[in-house]
């Protein structure tokens, strides 16, 4: 919504070339490695919303959990205001949670059914702000509930999660995150489990938090339309890798990477004919295949088995990150100089 500033300050939260591998048991005695996220680089700035889009299993949630300090990256570094974050015995220090909060996808799962709304909001106040006084706690709980438009606040404070609707629960979850007064809010598909009728309300709430409090927001979604509505920048992930990024209008209106194009085209748009997509990619939607296994990803560009424009080089070498100006970049041989063949210039 605002134009990207020319010189950027230090990001509040940054992932620098972050990789996360999980060891899994593939059978008796044999182990395999799931390459959930590889070489992810992401900057979050104050008052800006970055959308992370991609299909299920592309590593979005893993990246969010890495940023939230759930587990340490296999390689690479996460930096909070320029300072690298250290993990001790699988946990980040409590101070980190003071600055970075995560909103989970499922509002039905992320509230303990045995605790009242009040408990969920009082814990962060006690933990991070040392509020002990009963009256002060009540006042701040009321304030938080009013901020997420759960009024009358004193009534909602004593409700159990099962007495609330999905939208109300998600607001409690957001209020809980806000109680910490974080600098960064990571939303892991915060609206995908909500009823369509209250999604816009939720997006507006997030937008308000960004403009009023100057929160840095990471908005993870697979829904291009909501990303376009809320965000400033878009980053696209495919099979654990980031493949394209840039200001949202350019990325969505004129995608560089074939996968982004496919993703944008697959979101319903009343202005588009039913057959346009097939014409564009010269194939039916069903012929475009499945995302690859992250245990044994394809060599070269991970998208090449599904890519209608795949060349020889795509099958053998991973494309480098190519900056194409205006803060946009992509990882695709269509936009990089081919080292093997005679250079094929596109755009």
């Amino acid at each position: 919504m605002t134009a990207p500033p020319t010189t950027r300050p230090t990001p509040v939260l940054a992932a620098v070339d972050v990789t996360k591998h999980f060891a899994v048991r593939a059978g008796v005695g044999s182990r395999a490695v799931v390459r959930a996220v590889e070489g992810a680089t992401l900057d979050l700035h104050r008052g800006r919303v970055v959308a992370l889009v991609g299909e299920s299993g592309s590593g979005k949630t893993t990246l969010a959990r890495l940023l939230a300090g759930f587990y340490a990256p296999t390689s690479g570094e996460i930096a909070l205001e320029g300072a690298p974050v250290r993990q001790r015995r699988g946990r980040v220090e409590r101070g980190y949670h003071k600055d970075v909060q995560l909103i989970f996808q499922d509002p039905f799962g992320s509230l303990n059914p045995l605790h009242r709304v009040r408990h969920n909001l009082e814990r962060p106040l006690r933990l991070h702000h040392g509020v002990r006084d009963r009256a002060e706690l009540d006042r701040r709980v009321g304030e938080l509930l009013e901020r997420v438009a759960l009024t009358p606040a004193d009534q909602f404070a004593d409700k159990f999660p099962h007495e609330l609707s999905g939208g109300q629960r998600q607001r409690v979850v957001i209020a809980r995150a806000l109680a910490v007064e974080p600098k960064v809010l990571l939303g892991d598909e915060p609206i995908s489990m909500l009823d369509v009728s209250i999604r816009l309300e939720m997006l507006n709430l997030l937008d308000r938090l960004r403009t009023e409090d100057g929160l840095a927001l990471l908005y993870i979604t697979h829904d291009i339309a909501s990303a376009r509505y809320l965000c400033d920048d878009v980053v696209v992930m495919y099979a654990g890798e980031m493949i394209e990024g840039g200001p949202k209008e350019q990325v969505i209106a004129d995608p560089l990477h074939p996968y982004t194009r496919l993703l944008v085209e697959s979101s319903p748009d009343p202005a588009r004919g039913a057959r346009d997509r097939e014409a564009l990619f010269d194939a039916g939607a069903d012929d475009l295949g499945e995302p690859p296994s992250l245990i044994d990803p394809p060599p070269g560009c991970r998208f090449h088995p599904r890519c209608p424009f795949a060349k020889d080089v795509c099958r053998t070498q991973a494309p480098p990150r190519t900056d194409v100006g205006e803060g946009r970049w992509t990882r695709c041989w269509l936009h990089a100089t081919d080292p093997t063949a005679t250079s094929q210039e596109t755009e």
Binding site: N112, R123, R176
Partner: protein
């Protein structure tokens, strides 16, 4: 959370169970005073004029082969049996939580070690071990019996708790509270443990039944304090004197019935505790539904509320 406690007392099963359990607990606490105060109700006195008498006016529940009053012995036995039952259940459940909860929550190496420990106790032949230990410590009384039963009886419960803790720990709300910066002990005891209340209560009540039975069983095998009186020692004495063959049913039926009653009462209480673990179960009770029916207009059919109550 006073509403929770109130709603626990509302079902008839829980009330019946608690009433019966309460009766026996009272009996255990006040019984010895009672038998001492009433003449002719001494559980240890041998009335040589009344040997093996059936229930009658002098001795309401008859007398044993040794001329002891069965009623007095049953009252006295409640203390021994319930003491062993509750103490062994408390020890067993406590150990099960201490081992199972961290195993399920932390996983990894902690889990491997703790799980190894409980597996070890599972495969140990418990009864022979109890026999050996209890036999070795003979004459030391009901305390030792209770300790031994509790110490050898936690392993299955630890596995149950571990499995449940593992499943609860992987749920989003634990991760969410962790992201909030909650320390491990808060997560363990305030987020995970309350979800296991039902399991733990069931385990404890089961442990009480098991403890009472195990004590009776050990006494039946002759491993008990010879001077202590419990329902188990009564049944053992009856068996030794061939009460079944002689048709002296009044000797072994009262203690047997008491054991069965305590077990039933514990099970009934357990039903109510299940509702504690799951708040959704407490929403629609008959009294609530009735209140709802009264407040809603008579033309709106209360069908939905009625079916919810079931």
């Amino acid at each position: 959370m006073s509403t929770v406690r109130l709603s626990l007392l509302r079902g008839w099963k829980v009330r019946t169970g608690l009433a019966v359990l309460g009766f026996f607990v009272l009996l255990a606490l006040a019984g010895p005073l009672l038998t001492a105060a009433v003449p002719g109700l001494d559980p240890r006195a041998n009335d040589l004029a009344a040997i093996g008498l059936p229930p009658g006016p002098g001795h309401w529940l008859g007398t044993t082969q040794f001329g002891q009053d069965v009623l007095a012995q049953t009252v006295e036995g409640a203390r021994g049996s319930l003491f062993v039952g509750f103490l062994s259940a408390a020890i067993g459940t406590g150990l099960a939580i201490l081992v199972g909860l961290p195993a399920g929550y932390f996983g990894g190496r902690t889990d491997a070690w703790l799980n190894f420990l409980s597996n070890l106790f599972i495969v140990m032949p418990v009864l022979p071990l109890i026999l050996i230990v209890a036999g070795y410590m003979q004459g030391t009384g009901l305390w030792v019996i209770a300790l031994v039963i509790g110490f050898f009886g936690w392993s299955g419960g630890a596995r149950t708790i571990r499995a449940q803790a593992m499943s609860v720990s992987n749920r989003d709300f634990v991760a969410a509270m962790r992201t909030l910066g909650e320390p491990h002990h808060r997560l363990l005891f305030h987020e995970v443990l309350p979800h296991l209340t039902g399991w733990i209560a069931a385990m404890f009540l089961h442990g009480v039944i098991g403890g009472v039975m195990a004590e009776a069983g050990l006494a039946f095998l002759g491993i008990s304090d010879s001077s202590a009186i419990s329902w188990g020692t009564m049944i053992q004495a009856a068996q030794q004197q061939s009460a079944v063959l002689r048709g002296m049913w009044w000797w072994f039926v009262p203690p047997g019935l008491c054991i069965a009653l305590v077990a039933t009462a514990a099970t009934l209480v357990n039903f109510g505790v299940d509702e504690l673990a799951n708040p959704k179960l407490r929403t629609a009770r008959r009294s609530v539904v009735r209140r709802a029916e009264r407040t809603t207009a008579p033309d709106t059919a209360p069908d939905t509320a009625g079916s919810d109550a079931r």
